[in-house]
Symmetry: D3
Subunit: 179 residues, 6 copies
């Protein structure tokens, strides 16, 4: 077999890291089909991403979380584990994501008067960034909190008039400069 893999050509237009203009990206996927981005020519690099978000709860519920009196048990420990597992599963949850080696996950909860804030920081040594992993950690961790406080947040009609997950952002995305 004499075919070459010309990864030069393969990867020229397929860097989903850099801030390439839409035109270039559009050229790469001219047919508009969903497809993974070729990361084969990218170097393994230390990367880190932090995301954050919060769940709005009644003050009574936040107090209960603080006092760890919520019926379902240790709310934050469960949310922490749910967040870490979600980070590790991002490659299958987000269809176009690659599986990258996760080297570290850090989860920090802050309890405010009527909200619980979660910040998840993910580190990888892989070929592509890990902001999606951090976002999956935040949204899943906040969903777990919701699940753990359902009985406390529901009104008499079984609805959640005051509960909301909001302000989910990527706080920071870093890549070790290649020297």
């Amino acid at each position: 077999m004499t075919e070459d893999i010309n990864t030069q050509t393969d990867t020229k237009h397929s860097d989903n890291e850099n801030q390439s203009p839409d035109t270039e990206l559009t050229h790469v996927n001219a047919d508009g089909d969903a497809q993974m981005v070729d990361v084969g020519a990218k170097p393994d690099t230390n990367r880190r991403a932090s995301a954050r978000g919060e769940i709005e709860l009644t003050q009574t519920t936040v107090d209960a979380v603080r006092d760890n009196e919520i019926g379902k048990g240790d709310v934050l420990a469960t949310a922490r584990i749910g967040a870490i597992q979600a980070v590790k599963h991002t490659w299958e949850t987000i269809p176009m994501c690659h599986q990258i080696p996760i080297t570290n996950v850090d989860t920090v909860f802050d309890l405010h008067e009527t909200a619980v804030e979660l910040r998840v920081t993910v580190e990888t040594t892989g070929k592509t960034g890990c902001e999606m992993e951090a976002l999956e950690g935040v949204t899943t961790g906040l969903n777990v909190i919701w699940d753990m406080v359902k009985a406390a947040e529901k009104d008499d009609a079984g609805q959640y008039p005051k509960t909301a997950i909001t302000n989910i952002e990527v706080v920071n995305k870093q890549k070790q400069t290649e020297t």
Copy 2:
């Protein structure tokens, strides 16, 4: 086998559907340990839950989604499938959730000027509600959109100053009246 399970006793204090006062819930899990709720005595019932949320994007990106010109391809079709799969996987993503039979998932996207809104409605015939399934569908679907538009949303420093997932709520939760 002559031993008999007195489910009457088993389930007296374990309805996680009703709006039981914290005290009762606290009594059930007096030690504060995380544990699943016993749903063994609950009847199978038709239940439905709708959740919604939105991702804030630049107008250029929303236009690109609308025109299906985003580099990674069919953004909404991929987000729809990601949302449906997340609904089906909620029992493993949310540690204390039971696995319930999902009979229907409906996903609706609305494109606004600088945001994409997603509403996910889930139906089940199971023993417990499906609002967590709907929330997982919404947060995952919106995360998939973020993943699909990464290159378009990143600034020159590779950050996401304008992208956010916000206002995630349970719109409605219903249970067929038992007649």
Copy 3:
């Protein structure tokens, strides 16, 4: 909770079992978006589906499988387990599939002169048919055989000029008559 779900209305147009004309189906999904079919109003029924297919191999390889001399070990036992697991995972492998209770899986291998034939029969008590489960069992079981005989089937260039998986069909699909 006083809201009532009128499943009559919900499910009028959503039977994906019957041989409804395309027009009706098209009407249900007029926007052409991928979505699950609502099976909430369908009764639980005993259903069975059988699928079959074959992998073409060199006579030497089939003999080796027969003599259980393939380097990687017990080819058919591994393929059988791979097939059964694939049946159970169909709900996550095929995006629009529902998860249905699998009550029985039967796998039969027939060794021919230059092919191994696999027939998988699946039974469920669920609300929708299980032919996709049977097909997933057949294609995965045959892929496992391919994996187990790779070294025997490759030519000097590391290619597979004679190996092929072919003639995958749904042999039979049954539903217990409701009486």
Copy 4:
């Protein structure tokens, strides 16, 4: 990367893919037990594999796929995502497969008069080949198409007399020569 793809070299250096005599393989697994192949001493190498196959459908169904009028919605987008996810899950679907880093997946559908053809190309930087990943992508993608067109392909007895998945082959397997 401008190195030649020399599968001659490939097969020489890839001890669990090479065409070693049964005696050698037998020696490796003298007891005939299923076991993974030790790839610990293999170098990380750029590898690529392409597989293809087709699903035979009625002309009416192929036209409907072409016109994207199939009831269940966007057939090809769903099949594409199902294929990509199957590629990433091969390490758990095929019991003896190793998990390797997938760097790229390319899916191409060709619509013929009475068939849809799917070609999946997978690239990895791992220690072993990715033809099983390509095959899993093809068989799953074709199964997803079957699932999406079920209502259109079924006859009045609910059977599939004309539907078949066939001619699944590994088109090409390459490895970058080590220089």
Copy 5:
């Protein structure tokens, strides 16, 4: 569809609950091939199983667990969640297991002088028993404890001379008497 499934015939020999003599079981699987047991004709019944086991640790480690001072954090909360998730995943971890609806999981840890004991009770409303689910909960929960205390249990040579998981038993298996 006029074909009728005679489940009477189907299931005559396939009860894996009762204490059938080997001869009958052997007859069912005369070819000795691994296969699932047909549970299609079994009624849905309330079932419960309890399993228990213990991990032997140094007294220092048990004290650290008690004082929640282990470096990796909340040992028991993590083990509890690991156990519950393992219960829910038994259908894919144990190849021949059916997926059954888990209605309740109860986990109890007892700290002894040089051991941590775990008892897991599982309840289902399904067609087959749940002792495998209880065993998976116990073995996984104890493995999680091991993972959490690795640094405390390792000796200077990085070995675990005193750590062991032992005495894993099914304490009790019940089925609601059908009246």
Copy 6:
């Protein structure tokens, strides 16, 4: 591999909770929260771990396993595959585990008069040890044996008075000395 395995050196370099005294470890996780250990700065190294355990069975059952006459079929082939799959899934089964590249899994069963012994050896080229993977392989493999011999081990009351999984240990943990 001709490098000598020096477990002495191993401990000096391979403690993935760093070789800090408990006090320092406590300091690292002063808040006692569960979290992954940062392995980002650790080198990729050849590592190996062996674990073992046994399941106590009646002599009749062991004989049946030996004669492969157990009703459910090939007990050891199924247990072997269950063990290998469990090794590969350890990163999701044990919440705080990292996903590491598994390069080899070796499973050895020994049949004693009233017990079946299983030894699982795992090799990785990753940044952290693989003893948890070996333990998961052993406990899952033994659980699969239990599942396969259920009908033979149950007494007339459907209980398991003589069945137990016991003496699960990490036999050996090694790391290639860095030269």
